[in-house]
Amino acid sequence: MKKLVIKLYSFLGLLTLILFSACEDVIIVDAPEGAARLVVEGWVYDNQDVQTILLTNSSPYFDNQTPPLETNAQVSVTTQNGEVFAYSETSPGEYQADFRGSVGERYTLTIETSDGQRYQSTPQLLSLVAPLDSVYTVFRESPEVEDEGFYPAWDFTDPEGSDNFYRWKFYINDTLQSLAEDILVFSDEFIDGDEIVGAEFFLEQPMEEGDKLTVEQLSINEEAQDFLTQIQQLINNVGGLFDTPPDPIRGNITNTTDEENYALGFFGASSVAGESVVVGE
């Protein structure tokens, strides 16, 4: 519904554009610069033996620099039983540890940066993901979609009784579709226990015959869903007269040395079910 309303406004916008020759200009805005913050990106997966954490820093919005890397940090993940996996810096800002995530385990990330700040994530439960029943593609024509082509589709069955949060990742020819618009998260609030046939997603870029599609179905939690949704909102919905003022984004990493100096980003744990198909085969 909200989408519809947004559509309406964009339509009105189109009208004014045509009627009054509206125009866009790049301008300089005098914006207060926020403090540089540690940015955490990392997940524990149950389908790989090497886990990776990426540490960078935030930078002023208009500086347009590549994210400064956070090097020489002490990174570790602790399980609820007290088992500790120490990460080592394999390339600047990239930390890795050799272990496989296991379903039912809770993981907590701890970071100590070289300037002595300690950060900690909330504990993340690695929950079982429902299997993918089937992955296939469907052809969509315009005007139904803007770009005619093949789009991913899949079937799955939601386990009954539990609150499940899903994320789907799409790889075309083994390349992750990584635009903000391609993030897809979903909660089973209204479909608990249902068998879903024909779930579809309109990626920004459709596929052609012969492309290889891989769909990964991930079990995430509500925190991760909120974080990923907020990223999408911050990118799509800012500054217009009929937009809500954007809110600060917070992940799940706190600073235990200095509460004000919290980190951005998210650390999560997920079980992964994946399946591939070639378009037209």
Partner: protein
């Protein structure tokens, strides 16, 4: 005995003669006698002739210490003790009433003159016309129904009537007993050559108790340049000091740091919930149907309540009681037609005015399929009927119906929204000092969004969403005029509200009525009683004090959720659902709203004014977008939303120059807001059953300085205004709990409005507006997550869009009417945004289209060009 002379007009002839001296000794027959007896004795014993008016206190007794003395001694004594002045002119001694004190000292019984002041040509009642008794130097203005009442001692008076744009009238009437005096005034339009009232003759604003108010003349608005030639009341009042908007095209207006839902917009006393068409580009008031507009920004009288920041009181025309008339216009956006006329001459009349936009007709010409299939239009219908039963009873019926319709191109969509209002009023005079008005009002605002779509598997999906608010109101208002220096208002009102936060029906061909969503309606009662007394103390001080008591009950039938810890928030789940029966009180609020104003005149041309008011607002607009949208809903105070309260103090200095041709005012104000609703981060407000979990409560403050220089008369008219103001909010959970500028905080705001009469046929107007850019929330930093550049917005409204400024020009051409023909027409040629300023409509922060790694700020300007317009108007 020489004859006593009654003076009406004094004629002096200057024959030089040596006058007898006032030092001549006389001897009285007794030491105590009446003034009349004294004058008779002095008359007898001297060569003087005494001339005096029979309105002097002739029967008053005077005592003297001695019986013998010079004439001067006795005259000085009565002049000292009584409101009497004396003058010698040749052989005459003139006894005059001393100015001003006379009516106070004379303990005579008073009589009342009262009546209606109307336009001679149309019979329309004139609001705010001055009725002035020259001999007594007292006056009053007609109320919103054109009624006045004045109590005076019996006598013959010259009564002056004046009203801006009308010819002055002086009536000499003997008033021996209370009587009705209905007066018709000739407008300047009727006879252009006649002398019209100049500002100097109207009771200037500087002498009125009101401050922080603005009367907006509809004729002035009609001459001002307007966007696409569409004369717009709301856009025009945005040029007044203290009134601003979030942006061009945003609905409503902001008064002294108040959000748009804090304006009580009344159309013939019925509240109008949404004042905008086409989101916010145009307003709902058809200028042809409007007679009078008054805006209260502060010092709000006790008879108004229910909103925090302002009252915009709009009155529709009653309709010509003398003859049929037609009025209309053809513009680029819309056409208008008004029909009015008597049903029974001088007894009843009607007015019907319609307006419809036809911008969508042009869309057909577009090559874009989305555009030429679409429907975008709005219409307004204003109606009014009035009937004068007799001198003491009048009945008015008025209605407004307006709607925006939008649809077509997008998925067979139809989206429409609008207001409806209906008012029945009965004016009744209990006696000539007690005026009353009984009103029944119905008003609603609602919207509907529906579409039918071919679903993915060729199933038909139908979707229908409705929401709105309904208001039924009964009120009784009384005005009592005990004396010219005292007016008392009192009354009661009751409102019954229905709020429909939203109901959705979804039908699909395979699964009928799949998950319909029907949020519980809320119901509420708002009641109020008020008392207001305006009183003059002496020549210098006028005071108005009042008190309003308001009460609000949120009532069933409704199911109410209870939350863990009694605190609705996303973390606290619903623990219980309590059902309330029809009419059962769910929550009750009440409060006292004191109002106070004072005017201290430093001179006839200068005054200091001060005011204080407290207002309660029990219903608020739930909107978390920068500018409100048509789908925002109104929510009543309930067990989780407290009523909002504001306290405002204002101080003002008012000065008139050059016989009131120029008016200058400087005002400062401070407002403190409590319990304003705000929203949690990422709040979902639409169709949310547990809306209360998304709400936060905050406080606010607003303060500012407003300067206004206005020229009311002459070939040049217009005003220059400057506002320096701040408005800030503080909400726990937003901006680190610190104060932040509200969306409509615009520290500097300059407006210039000019109108120049080039000749009888030609007239030119110009508007210039400058204001600081609106606050916007900028990214304070950015970071990369999964390869996506993510902006981080930590400081709410921490930056501003570029400054806004714009110049508009227009020329009006009105050929003189052909003799004997009633048809008159005029042309308006306008240019909006003369120097093609690219003003910011919105500022977006986003990755560059060429290189997503580069982030930048982009300004969208919707009127980046010069926009010309032409409008043709006619009257018959």
């Amino acid at each position: 005995m020489k004859p006593l002379v009654f003076i009406a007009l004094i004629y002096f002839n200057f024959i030089t003669q040596t006058p007898e001296s006032l030092d001549k000794e006389v001897t009285l027959s007794q030491p105590t006698l009446t003034i009349k007896e004294l004058l008779q004795e002095l008359d007898r014993q001297s060569s003087y002739t005494f001339s005096y008016s029979n309105r002097l206190p002739l029967k008053a007794k005077v005592s003297f210490d001695k019986k013998k003395g010079p004439i001067r001694y006795f005259l000085d004594r009565i002049s000292r003790d009584h409101p009497i002045q004396y003058k010698t002119v040749n052989e005459k001694i003139l006894l005059l009433r001393e100015k001003k004190r006379a009516p106070v000292k004379m303990r005579q019984e008073k009589v009342t003159i009262s009546g209606y002041v109307t336009d001679a040509a149309t019979g329309e009642e004139l609001i705010g016309a001055t009725v002035y008794v020259q001999e007594l130097e007292i006056g009053t203005v007609t109320n919103v129904y054109g009624y006045y009442s004045l109590s005076v001692p019996p006598g013959e008076y010259t009564i002056g009537l004046s009203y801006i744009g009308y010819q002055r009238q002086n009536l000499t009437v003997p008033i021996e007993e209370s009587q009705t005096l209905n007066v018709e005034m000739l407008s300047e339009e009727v006879q252009l050559q006649e002398i019209v009232v100049t500002a100097a003759e109207v009771v200037p604003e500087v002498q009125e108790i009101e401050m922080s108010t603005a009367k907006v003349d509809i004729q002035t608005i009609q001459k001002m340049p307007a966007l696409l030639g569409e004369v717009d009341v709301i856009r025009s009042i945005q040029l007044l000091p203290g009134v601003s908007t979030v942006g061009e095209g945003a609905p409503g207006f902001n008064v002294r740091g108040g959000s748009i839902d804090q304006n009580l917009i009344l159309l013939d006393e019925a509240p109008v919930f949404s004042s905008s068409h086409l989101l916010g580009f145009f307003s709902v008031f058809n200028p042809d149907a409007i007679k009078d507009i008054k805006l209260y920004k502060g010092g709000i009288p006790a008879r108004y309540g229910g909103r925090l920041s302002s009252v915009l009181d709009v009155r529709q025309k009653e309709g010509n009681t003398k003859k049929f008339g037609l009025k209309g216009g053809i513009g680029l956006i819309s056409s208008r037609l008004l029909v009015e006329g008597p049903i029974q001459k001088d007894k009843s009349s009607f007015m019907v005015a319609g307006r419809r936009s036809y911008g969508d007709l042009f869309l057909r010409l577009s090559n874009n399929e989305d555009i030429n299939n679409s429907i975008v239009y709005f219409y307004d219908l204003n109606t009014k009927v009035n009937y004068k039963i007799n001198d003491r009873n009048r009945i008015y019926l008025s209605g407004y119906f307006g709607r925006d319709v939008f649809g077509g191109a997008v998925e067979n969509l139809r989206f429409d929204w609008g207001n409806r209002t209906g008012t029945i009023r009965w004016n009744h005079l209990f006696n000539d000092k007690l005026f009353s008005n009984f009103t029944a009002i119905y008003s609603d605002y609602n919207y509907q969004l529906a579409f039918a779509d071919e679903g993915t598997d060729a199933t038909l999906e139908e979707f229908e969403w409705q929401s709105g608010v309904t208001n039924r109101n009964l009120q009784a208002d009384f005005t009592y005029f005990p004396s010219p220096s005292s007016t008392i208002d009192f009354g009661v009102s009751g409102i019954y509200y229905d709020f429909n936060p939203g109901s959705v029906k979804i039908r699909t061909s395979d699964e009928p009525a799949e998950f319909p969503l029907d949020l519980d309606e809320e119901h509420a009662i708002e009641a109020a009683a008020y008392f207001n007394h305006e009183k003059k103390f002496g020549d210098r001080v006028t005071v108005q004090y009042g008190l309003r008591y308001s009460a609000f009950a949120n009532v069933g039938r409704r199911d109410v959720f209870e939350y863990q810890n009694g605190n609705p928030s996303p973390e606290n789940p619903v623990t219980d659902t309590v059902s309330y029966g029809a009419g059962e009180i769910i929550e009750f609020y009440n409060g006292w709203e004191p109002r106070f104003s004072i005017n201290y005149s430093l001179s006839e041309q200068t005054a200091l004014k001060a005011s204080y008011n407290r207002m309660f607002q029990y219903i608020q607009l739930v909107s978390n977008t920068t500018a409100a949208t048509p789908i925002d809903i109104w929510a009543p105070a309930n067990q989780y939303i407290r009523p909002a309260i504001v306290d405002q103090v204002a101080l003002g200095y008012f000065r008139n120059f050059r016989q009131n041709t120029y008016e200058f005012s400087a005002e400062v104000y401070y407002k403190n807001f409590q319990d304003l609703i705000d929203f949690r981060n990422g709040a979902e407000l639409i169709l949310n059953e547990t809306l209360e979990t998304e709400l936060l409560s905050g406080t606010g403050r607003a303060y500012g300085l407003e300067l206004l220089l206005k020229k009311r008369e002459g070939r040049w008219t217009g005003w220059l205004s400057y506002t320096l103001a701040r408005t800030e909010r503080q909400v726990d959970g937003i901006n680190n709990n610190e104060y932040y500028p509200s969306n409509f905080d615009k520290p500097h705001d300059v407006s210039l409005v000019l109108n120049y009469n080039i000749s009888e046929k030609w007239n030119a107007s110009a508007n210039f507006a400058y204001m600081t850019g609106r606050p916007t929330t900028p990214p304070s930093g950015r970071f990369v997550y999964e390869g996506i550049v993510v902006p981080d917005y930590t400081s709410r409204n921490g930056a501003r869009t570029p400054d806004y400024h714009r110049l508009d020009l227009s020329v009006n051409y009105e050929p003189p009417p052909k003799p004997g023909r009633r048809w008159r027409n005029s042309w308006n040629f306008g240019v909006y945004n003369v120097y093609a300023r690219r003003n910011p409509y919105s500022v977006f922060f986003r990755p560059s289209e060429e290189n997503p790694a580069i982030t930048e700020a982009v300004q969208l300007s919707i009127f980046a060009n010069i926009i010309p317009s032409v409008t043709y108007n006619f009257t018959f």
